[in-house]
């Protein structure tokens, strides 16, 4: 009996190590560029679309193969193969006249999000911005931004659809989807976060402030629960005071202070 236990322990340990190693290598091994190219063509619903590899881009929230489509770019996540961003330059043409009303534009944006973003309808995606934005002589665009909200926290799971207000064509798309692996309960209250933010702008006379709990990738592949604060203060020497402040919602450390220009 004693002998058989001694034999089983190392065998079990070896099996665990082998499994752990194979899971880890699956997570870090990127897909090939050719596979990613196929994913880009699938996204464009055109298997014969001309798609040219441009570069690999490393961001905190992931690594991407970037492809030139001739009229825009497609960003394919190197590990999941998911298309997380696309732009369509020709869709910006003739975007001066507003033919779509906001309800029609939102319906078109939502339909696109549902088509391109897996599980869009199942997630608690909150529409946090819906604007008609003028770019002057360069035309206008409707911009719709959804963020997933879990326990009052904005996650990195987001969908952006920008579309031409005249033709309804999609100008650009961003769709991020990640497992949440950091705690969602802050140690720091909203008021404490606002106080810390105000401390970054000595003497500020606050006229407006927002504070959102959000999971952010403050370092490569590392999620952190943060308070994202914007603070506007009355002018000093004809310059708006305040800016954007990001605070670690657990430790209270200030991660970013970015004053208004």
């Amino acid at each position: 009996m004693g002998d058989s236990i001694m034999k089983w322990i190392p065998i079990t340990a070896i099996i665990c190590i082998v499994i752990a190693v194979s899971i880890a290598s699956a997570a870090v091994t990127p897909i090939g560029v050719d596979t990613a190219k196929g994913k880009a063509q699938d996204f464009l619903n055109a298997s014969d679309a001309t798609v040219q590899y441009q570069k690999t881009e490393h961001l905190n929230l992931g690594e991407y193969y970037v492809f030139d489509t001739g009229e825009g770019q497609v960003y394919v996540n190197t590990h999941t193969g998911t298309v997380e961003r696309a732009s369509f330059d020709s869709a910006r043409k003739d975007s001066h006249e507003i033919r779509l009303d906001s309800a029609g534009a939102e319906a078109a944006a939502r339909a696109y999000a549902e088509e391109k973003y897996g599980g869009f309808a199942e997630k608690d995606m909150r529409l946090i911005e819906s604007d008609l934005i003028s770019h002057g002589d360069a035309g206008s665009e409707y911009s719709y931004i959804w963020r997933e909200e879990v326990k009052g926290v904005l996650t990195p799971n987001t969908v952006v659809v920008n579309l031409n207000p005249s033709t309804g064509e999609i100008i650009s798309y961003i769709g991020i989807q990640r497992e949440i692996n950091c705690p969602l309960e802050p140690k720091l209250s909203r008021d404490e976060a606002l106080k810390i933010a105000a401390g970054q702008f000595p003497g500020i006379k606050v006229i407006d402030a927002t504070a959102d709990l959000a999971v952010e990738y403050t370092r490569p592949d590392a999620q952190m629960l943060t308070w994202v604060v914007t603070m506007k203060g009355g002018p000093v020497d004809h310059v708006l005071q305040g800016g954007l402040v990001v605070v670690d919602a657990q430790a209270g450390d200030v991660l970013m202070v970015s004053p208004y220009l």
């Binding site: 904005l154 952010e216 020497d237 004809h238 310059v239 990001v246």
Partner: protein
């Protein structure tokens, strides 16, 4: 800019008088700094330099700071400017006191293209937007395409969001490229 065939120079904490006189010799003028803000009803129309000096679109009798220089006072000086970029809060916003920088630069004074921002922009996203914008125009994108794509480049940085860079406005020949290096149409 050098990689595109332009010779370039930059200065930090310059006086408005230096920038104002240099602007007339530039093909591309890029300003990254503070914009003018009196209150929510009177914002935009000016960019701030050292020693409380300002370049303003115009004035109706309001004079921020110590020294003021007006785009409206240029004759044909900036008519051959190809592109002016004012990376500040409210730089494309019309201010009843001091006018509209972007409109004054292109419509009234004849520069080919001008970019400003209608909303609040801050240092970090502004820096990222400009780095991306110049990279993209260097790679041959049109001004409109580069401005739009640079905006999306900002969105998925941390913290996630546009943070005002989506309020960019372009006046003039927005579908132009900056290569080959040249002055604007005189």
């Amino acid at each position: 800019m050098a990689a595109m065939g332009y010779s370039s120079s930059s200065s930090t904490n310059a006086h408005a008088s230096t920038a104002y006189s240099q602007f007339g010799s530039d093909a591309v003028f890029f300003f990254n700094g503070h914009g003018l803000y009196y209150d929510d009803s009177h914002k935009g129309g000016g960019i701030k330099f050292s020693s409380e000096s300002w370049i303003l679109a115009d004035t109706d009798g309001h004079y921020p700071g110590n020294d003021q220089y007006y785009i409206a006072d240029y004759g044909t000086d900036i008519r051959d400017v190809l592109l002016a970029v004012y990376l500040t809060c409210y730089s494309s916003h019309y201010n009843p006191y001091n006018g509209d920088l972007v409109q004054e630069t292109v419509t009234n004074k004849g520069a080919d293209i001008c970019i400003g921002f209608d909303g609040e922009v801050e240092v970090e996203n502004g820096k990222y937007w400009s780095g991306s914008f110049w990279d993209r125009v260097r790679n041959g994108e049109t001004v409109a395409s580069a401005a739009s794509n640079a905006k999306d480049d900002c969105y998925w940085q941390w913290p996630i969001g546009y943070w005002g860079v989506d309020t960019y406005e372009i006046s003039g020949s927005y579908n132009s490229c900056l290569t080959p290096a040249r002055y604007g149409v005189y």
